[in-house]
C-alpha cells in the first residue's frame, strides 16, 4: 500500500489548471502548422496564422489562449494500492481548482443553479470529476478545461443496430456541420460508439483527448476515422468558419461493447484550443 497526502493532489490540480490554459499541447500546435501549410491562402491561412501567433503569445506571456478557461474536467485513475491521507480527496480536488483559477487569473465560469438563479460560484468549482480504479499504486490525473462554445455543439444519438456504419457517418457529419462556425473550427472531434447512454459520452470525451496522431487499434475503425476526417474537411467550413479545407484537425473513435438492441453514438466537439494534460503520481 502507498500513502498519498491529498495536499499533493491539490497542488497538482492547481498547477495543471494554470498550465493547460496557457500552453497548447505540442501535437495540436504542430497540426495547426501543418494545416496552415496545406491551406491555399486567403482567410483560411490568415486565420491559422493568428491562431498560431496566439498560441505563441499565450505560452510566452502566460496569458490564457482563450478567455473561456472552461469547466475543469478531471479524470483520476487511481491504483487500488493507494491510500489517501490528510483529508477528503474530493474536496482536495475542488481546492486545487479554486486555487489554480484564482492564482492563474483564469475566468470563473460556473453557476450554482442551471435554470433559475444562475449565480456564479466565483471560484470555478465544482469541477467535473470521473474516477476509475485500476491495478497498481500510481495515480494518473488528466485535466481538461472544457470551453462551452464547442461543448454546446456536442450530441448523443441512440442509433439502431440496423442504422449501421452509414448511420454513424451521417450522424457525425451532421453534428459537425451544424456546429460549424459556432464551435471555433478547426475542431478536434471525439466519437464514442457503444456502451450505454452515459458510457458513450465518456468514450467520446476520451477519444477527443487522444494524441492527434493516434488511431483506433481495429483497422476498420481506424479507416472510419480517416474517412470521416476527410469528409469533414470537404465540408468547406474552414478555420473560424470563413471557408477552407481545415474544418477539423483530428477525429478519434473509442468503442465499447453494447446491448443487442442498441448502437449509441456520441460526438464530443472541441475547438482548436484542445487543452488537456496528464500527470502520473
Amino acid at each position: 500500500m502507498r500513502e498519498i497526502n491529498v495536499n499533493l493532489i491539490t497542488q497538482t490540480i492547481a498547477s495543471l489548471c494554470r498550465s493547460t490554459c496557457t500552453d497548447l499541447p505540442q501535437d495540436v500546435y504542430d497540426r495547426l502548422k501543418e494545416a496552415r501549410a496545406a491551406e491555399k491562402g486567403g482567410m483560411a491561412q490568415k486565420t491559422l496564422d493568428i491562431l498560431i501567433e496566439n498560441a505563441d503569445i499565450s505560452k510566452q506571456k502566460k496569458i490564457p489562449i482563450c478567455q473561456d478557461t472552461g469547466m475543469a474536467c478531471i479524470w483520476l485513475k487511481v491504483g487500488q494500492e493507494v491510500h489517501f491521507v490528510g483529508g477528503d480527496l474530493n474536496e482536495a480536488i475542488q481546492q486545487g481548482v479554486r486555487q489554480g483559477y484564482e492564482e492563474g487569473y483564469l475566468r470563473k465560469s460556473i453557476v450554482y443553479d442551471p435554470v433559475f438563479d444562475r449565480v456564479n460560484t466565483q471560484d470555478n468549482t465544482p469541477a467535473m470529476i470521473t474516477y476509475e480504479i485500476v491495478p497498481g499504486d500510481k495515480i494518473e490525473i488528466t485535466l481538461a478545461p472544457k470551453g462551452f462554445g464547442s461543448e454546446n455543439m456536442s450530441q448523443i444519438r441512440m442509433l439502431k443496430p440496423s442504422d449501421g456504419v452509414e448511420g454513424i457517418k451521417s450522424f457525425v457529419l451532421n453534428v459537425v456541420e451544424s456546429a460549424g462556425a459556432n464551435a471555433c473550427p478547426p475542431m478536434v472531434i471525439g466519437v464514442g460508439i457503444g456502451g450505454n447512454f452515459d458510457k458513450v459520452a465518456l468514450l467520446a470525451k476520451q477519444a477527443m483527448m487522444a494524441p492527434i496522431e493516434a488511431h483506433h487499434p481495429d483497422k476498420r475503425y481506424a479507416d472510419l476515422e480517416d474517412e470521416l476526417l476527410e469528409r469533414i474537411n470537404q465540408l468547406g467550413i474552414g478555420p473560424a468558419g470563413f471557408g477552407g479545407g481545415t474544418t477539423a484537425l483530428a477525429l478519434h473513435i473509442e468503442t465499447a461493447p453494447t446491448h443487442i438492441a442498441g448502437m449509441p453514438v456520441a460526438v464530443a466537439i472541441c475547438c482548436h484550443v484542445s487543452r488537456h494534460e496528464k500527470v502520473i503520481l
Binding site: 491555399k40 482567410m43 483560411a44 486565420t47 493568428i50 491562431l51 501567433e53 496566439n54 503569445i57 499565450s58 506571456k61 496569458i63 490564457p64 489562449i65 482563450c66 478567455q67 473561456d68 478557461t69 487569473y105 483564469l106 475566468r107 470563473k108 465560469s109 444562475r118 456564479n120 466565483q122 462554445g149 454546446n152 460549424g180 462556425a181 459556432n182 464551435a183 471555433c184 470537404q234 465540408l235 468547406g236 467550413i237 474552414g238 473560424a240 468558419g241 470563413f242 471557408g243 477552407g244 479545407g245 475547438c271 482548436h272 484550443v273
Partner: protein, 186 residues
C-alpha cells in the same frame, strides 16, 4: 485591403461595409454577453434607461479573463453570438449598429440588421491573447456582480475583425464556404 473604422459606427459607415471586409476597429466598444443582455432587455421592459447609449454603438460578445496585476486586460476572444439572438433585435431597433462575436445568427437578427443598418463582425474564436492586446483601457460600467459577464467599456486600438454579415444580409460564412467548395470543383 484592410479598412480602418472608428466608433461611433454611423449608419453611413455601416452601409459601406461588405461581408468579407477585414477591419480594424478603434474607439469605444462595450462588452455584453448572456446575463447582461437579459438584464438590458428587462430594463427596457421596465422602461428604465440603459447603462450606456446604444445608438451607433458596438457590443462585443465577450467575458474576459480577470486582468492580472500590471495589465490592462486579460484574454478576450469572442463568445458564440447565437445565444444573444433572442435579445439583439430589440437593441438593433434602438440604434445599436455593430455586434462582434463568432458563429451563426438567426434570421430574425439578420432581418433586424437589414432594417436598421446593422453590421455583424466576426472575431476569431480562441484568439483571446491576440485580441486582448488591442484593448487599451477597460472599465466596468454595469452589473459588476456578474463578474466576467459585467458590462465593460473598452477603449480599443486596431481591434481585428471581419464583416461576417453586412447590412444587406450578405454572409461570409456562406460565401467563404461556397468559394472553397467552388475551388474544389475546378
Amino acid at each position: 485591403m484592410i479598412k480602418k473604422i472608428t466608433t461611433p459606427l454611423t449608419s453611413q459607415v455601416a452601409r459601406s461595409l461588405r461581408a468579407g471586409d477585414q477591419v480594424l476597429i478603434s474607439g469605444t466598444i462595450y462588452t455584453g454577453r448572456d446575463a447582461a443582455h437579459r438584464r438590458l432587455v428587462e430594463m427596457l421592459d421596465r422602461q428604465e434607461p440603459l447603462p450606456f447609449d446604444v445608438t451607433d454603438a458596438i457590443i462585443y460578445y465577450v467575458g474576459p479573463t480577470p486582468t492580472p496585476p500590471g495589465a490592462v486586460f486579460g484574454s478576450g476572444g469572442p463568445t458564440t453570438s447565437g445565444r444573444m439572438d433572442a435579445y439583439a433585435p430589440r437593441l438593433l431597433a434602438l440604434g445599436l449598429r455593430g455586434m462582434i462575436g463568432k458563429g451563426y445568427r438567426s434570421s430574425q437578427v439578420v432581418e433586424a440588421m437589414k432594417a436598421n443598418d446593422g453590421v455583424y463582425f466576426g472575431a476569431i474564436g480562441g484568439a483571446g491573447a491576440v485580441i486582448g492586446a488591442s484593448v487599451k483601457k477597460c472599465e466596468i460600467i454595469a452589473f459588476e456582480d456578474l463578474g466576467p459577464e459585467a458590462i465593460r467599456r473598452l477603449e480599443v486600438e486596431d481591434f481585428p475583425a471581419v464583416v461576417v454579415i453586412d447590412h444587406e444580409g450578405n454572409n461570409l460564412y456562406e460565401q467563404g464556404r461556397q468559394a472553397y467548395l467552388d475551388s474544389l470543383a475546378k
